[in-house]
């Protein structure tokens, strides 16, 4: 039986954040129920037909904890027999949408890793982002999670926010790291089209911060986190060694995963699938007993090589050239001699013990590196 990662999408939120372009909706309970029914059915279809074993599970959103935990329980009951032993089972949550009871329930149903979306420590910044919680709630929820037995917790943080100073950012990192979380993600804000932020930006009411400050925030955070024992292992991710997110590593190591729920993507046997994004469309397909797949792309040999390169370069351990050559039956060194020469000369990548890695400059300009391999 095939061992893969499982991603489960819960596309509901109490309200949509100002920067968010994810597939999430603000809905009533009926809608939630019919979506969750469809989701359960989709999962059953895969299990029955393919009999996967899930070595990691990631329940993401949206805000999975915004809906009642019994919905998550239904899903967990269904997949539990197919989850590998000692598998990492993560779930995203937002402060203020959980309490000791629900956290206890989540832990009991088999979820063993929490990812909490804090984003910023300071209230004005949270408000600007359109977050519904405050820092007090975060601290309280964190304590509750510890109490019910979560020993692997991530906090999502954002930097390069409009009106955010370097001091505010470093305070955020400092405070959250001091609370002893095992994992922190630091994302540089990108103003995405179609978000309220984008509209404000177009109206000149939102001033993006300078790239120079963005990078200062980034590099200072790397240092600070290291002092707290959180090592960078991916462009935006930091963990106590050994507690890197195993599910996300599946993406970066270009391995196979199944995504269920509206808008989820899968990569199985060299093919990428994308589910319908719209809830109605998704539910309709599943109701008819069909896989709710909207897009299907066979990933070519070259394309797969490129994905492996750029995804592994995101990781601090870099691209294992020997592995690469074995997997694809090519010689990386000669195939990519031109871009590599250019990138090495520009100080964007480095090579040691058969691994190619981004330099510090390379991680600031990673897109420029990636397109060289296209």
């Amino acid at each position: 039986m095939k061992e893969i990662g499982l991603y489960i999408h819960i596309p509901f939120c109490k309200q949509k954040c100002n920067y968010c372009d994810f597939n999430s909706y603000v809905c009533n309970d009926d809608k939630v129920q019919s979506y969750m029914d469809a989701l359960l059915k989709e999962i059953k279809m895969y299990i029955q037909e393919y009999g996967f074993i899930f070595k990691t599970v990631f329940i993401g959103g949206g805000t999975p904890t915004f809906i009642h935990y019994k919905h998550i329980e239904d899903i967990m009951m269904e997949i539990k027999p197919y989850i590998a032993e000692a598998a990492e089972v993560s779930m995203e949550c937002n402060p203020g949408t959980v309490n000791e009871e629900s956290l206890g329930a989540y832990r009991k149903m088999g979820i063993n890793r929490l990812s909490i979306g804090l984003q910023a420590w300071q209230q004005p910044l949270q408000k600007q982002l359109g977050r519904i919680h405050d820092t007090e709630q975060f601290i309280q929820n964190l304590e509750q999670a510890r109490k019910v037995g979560f020993t692997n917790i991530n906090a999502d943080l954002m930097f390069a926010l409009p009106n955010q100073s370097l001091e505010m950012w470093l305070e955020t990192v400092q405070k959250v790291a001091s609370l002893g979380v095992e994992h922190i993600s630091c994302y540089s804000l990108k103003i995405e089209e179609g978000t309220p932020f984008y509209k404000l930006y177009q109206q000149n009411k939102l001033q993006p911060i300078e790239d120079e400050l963005d990078r200062e925030m980034y590099h200072k955070a790397i240092e600070l986190l290291k002092k707290h024992g959180l090592e960078q292992y991916e462009i935006s991710n930091f963990a106590v060694p050994g507690l890197e997110c195993k599910h996300n590593l599946i993406y970066w190591e270009n391995k196979e995963y199944l995504g269920v729920g509206a808008g989820s993507h899968s990569k199985i046997a060299g093919v990428r699938y994308g589910n319908h994004r719209m809830l109605e469309r998704y539910i309709e397909h599943v109701d008819k007993g069909n896989y709710p797949i909207d897009e299907k792309n066979v990933i070519g040999h070259e394309e797969d090589m490129w994905e492996t390169i750029i995804l592994s370069l995101r990781l601090n351990k870099g691209l294992d050239v020997l592995d690469f050559n074995n997997k694809y039956g090519v010689c990386f060194e000669s195939k990519y001699s031109l871009p590599m020469e250019k990138l090495l000369k520009g100080g964007l990548v480095e090579i040691s013990d058969n691994h190619v890695r981004l330099t510090s400059l390379g991680s600031d300009l990673s897109n420029s590196v990636f397109i060289e391999f296209l």
């Binding site: 991603y7 490129w306 600031d364 897109n367 990636f370």
Partner: protein, 602 residues
């Protein structure tokens, strides 16, 4: 002797300003006379290049033969000869006009006469054409036909009492125009028995038949087998086929005095067929060629380079193919330190240049880098030698130059009176010499200026349009060369001169242009991995400096399962953008950088 046959022929063209509805009117005439069925009728049949249709202008001439049964009961043959509507193509227009006995002058009922209309009206009068005014767009609420009629009488001095009031768009008044053609345009009066004398007014390349000459037979006749001689080109060919346009080619037994049609003679070289040349019968030649022949000389030059050096041969092939249909396009190989191998190309004017660039990119799928346009400067060296320079890089060293001359044009600008101030300002800024100003009526004036051509090729049209809210119109013709104090302005990136960015400018304007250019380049050159100093210099003197800061950030913060496809598309787009950049030294320059000089403003 003029035959009866010719009584029923009308050769005419349509004169109009851009957007005044020339093509739409032509469509209606074609439709009404039933040459094409409704199914065959494509919008604006005459403008058959995509580019022409998009821009609403005619670049290549077309002609079409229409049959019309008039109210007098007779069957008439109308030869509608299309003319390009732009100032760049004045010579082509004058030759098409010479092929006609009359012209319809289309004037927009909402806008009145514009500079181009007037320029072409003068050309038509020079060719002794009978003019028939048509007031178009009378269906529009703001139409004022009576006012426009009066303007036609006052400004052109034409009797407008017989003017047709039409809406080509709505099909109103088309029959009146057709009857008007019968009534007001004279029939040709050629001598069918005289030696052959025919005017070439256009040519194009047909891959099966070779170069096709489009002609108006003035005297005599031409048929397959005729040994024809092109009098200016001095070449002879045996005619293989003659015919008329329906608008597709329709072969006929012969073309006679008064007819408009085509001649094919397996001509391989487009250079043998000159617009304006006279065709005669080699075995029975006419005594004198038709007047008005002129060799076409380009006015504006620029360097065209393939963005990818490997495309050099493809670019040459494409230019050769375009030249088959466009004898006015000149090109010769040149080399630039920054851009590698490319071509210096000569054009009739700015529009002609833009059209060729666009066609190369679109029809031949080439990525191009084009340098800023230049004109031909005359340089008198200290050793007495006289040279012509169209590429700033070829300018001799300062100490070798005794003096320089630049081309000056006679410009005519027509505008509502309220914009006279801003227009004079603009012309002053562009080193213009005021000649005079005439009131066409109480609210409209015509300004005459002498302007250096090199000031016009830098966004003069745009500047004029923005200062007059689009109401002014503009026309020019070459006056001659005048001495001028010119210098070469160089641009340095990373302390190295980029030859393709150099341009020639009047010395009084060097500082401001240098500063503007450095600022402009700072805006259009994207940040790169290192800092790039930009300097503008005249000789060894740096006159402006800017710095492009190094790129600091180019990252995707998030990349998870669902992101990969989308992010890949983003990166592919980024890569595509980079591909269109030109590597100069270690700096990547976008195509706009080379055209920056055009967008400097005043």
């Amino acid at each position: 002797m003029a035959s009866d046959r010719q009584k029923y022929i009308r050769n005419f063209c349509i004169i109009a300003h851009i957007d005044h509805g020339k093509s739409t009117l032509a469509d209606r005439l074609i439709e009404k006379t039933g040459v094409l069925s409704a199914r065959e009728m494509e919008e604006q049949v005459l403008d058959n290049m995509d580019l022409e249709r998009e821009r609403g202008i005619t670049i290549k001439l077309q002609s079409v033969r229409l049959n019309y049964k008039a109210l007098d009961g007779n069957e008439y043959t109308f030869n509608l000869i299309d003319t390009p509507g732009h100032v760049d193509f004045t010579y082509e227009v004058s030759r098409s006009l010479a092929a006609c006995e009359g012209a319809i002058v289309v004037v927009d009922a909402t806008q009145g006469i514009e500079a181009q209309t007037l320029a072409n009206v003068y050309l038509a009068l020079d060719n002794n054409l009978e003019l028939y005014p048509v007031i178009n767009k009378i269906d529009l609420p703001s139409a004022d036909p009576e006012f426009v009629k009066k303007e036609v009488e006052d400004v052109i001095g034409l009797d407008a009492s017989n003017a047709a009031l039409v809406s080509a768009k709505e099909g109103i008044g088309i029959e009146e125009v057709l009857e008007g053609l019968v009534k007001y345009i004279p029939a040709p009066r050629g001598d069918e028995s005289a030696p052959l004398k025919a005017l070439i007014f256009d040519s194009y390349y047909d891959s099966y038949k070779g170069v096709i000459a489009i002609i108006r037979v003035i005297d005599g006749s031409i048929k397959p087998g005729t040994k024809m001689r092109m009098m200016e080109a001095g070449v002879e060919y045996d005619v293989v086929e003659v015919g008329t346009f329906r608008p597709g080619m329709l072969s006929r037994d012969c073309l006679m005095a008064g007819d408009v049609g085509y001649v094919a003679a397996s001509i391989k070289n487009v250079k043998d067929v000159h617009v304006g040349d006279t065709i005669t019968d080699a075995s029975n030649p006419c005594k004198q060629a038709l007047p008005g022949y002129r060799k076409v000389t380009p006015m504006v030059y620029c360097g065209i380079y393939p963005a990818d050096g490997a495309d050099y041969d493809n670019l040459r092939d494409a230019l050769e193919k375009l030249q088959l249909n466009d004898a006015a396009l000149m090109f010769e190989p040149e080399t630039s330190a920054a851009l590698g191998f490319g071509f210096r190309c000569g054009f009739l004017g700015l529009l002609h240049m833009e059209i060729i660039q666009e066609r190369l990119e679109r029809e031949y799928d080439l990525y191009l880098v084009t340098t800023a346009p230049s004109v031909i400067y005359h340089i008198i060296k200290t050793n007495g030698e006289k040279i012509e320079v169209s590429n700033p890089s070829n300018l001799p060293e300062l100490q070798e130059i005794e003096r320089m001359e630049e081309p000056i044009v006679k410009a005519t600008i027509m505008s509502p009176t309220e914009y006279v101030g801003p227009i004079m300002d603009l012309c002053q800024n562009r080193r213009g010499t005021f000649i005079n100003m005439e009131y066409m009526e109480a609210t409209r004036v015509m300004l005459h200026y002498d302007l250096p051509l090199n000031e016009i090729i830098y966004d003069f049209f745009d500047a004029l349009k923005s200062r007059t809210k689009g109401y002014a119109s503009f026309d020019y013709e070459l006056k001659g060369y005048e001495e001028s104090e010119l210098v070469k302005l160089d641009i340095l990136l990373n302390a190295e001169i980029v030859d393709a960015l150099s341009f020639i400018v009047h010395k009084d304007k060097a500082y401001s242009r240098g500063r503007n250019m450095a600022e402009k380049l700072k805006d259009v050159i994207p940040r790169q991995m290192f800092e790039i100093p930009i300097q503008a210099a005249v000789g060894s003197k740096i006159i402006a400096r800017e710095t492009i800061r190094a790129m600091r950030k180019d990252v995707l913060a998030k990349c998870y399962g669902g992101d990969i496809t989308r992010k890949k598309k983003l990166l592919e787009k980024q890569k595509e953008g980079k591909k269109r950049m030109r590597q100069v030294g270690n700096v990547e320059l976008p195509q706009e950088a080379f055209m920056s000089v055009l967008k400097l403003g005043d």
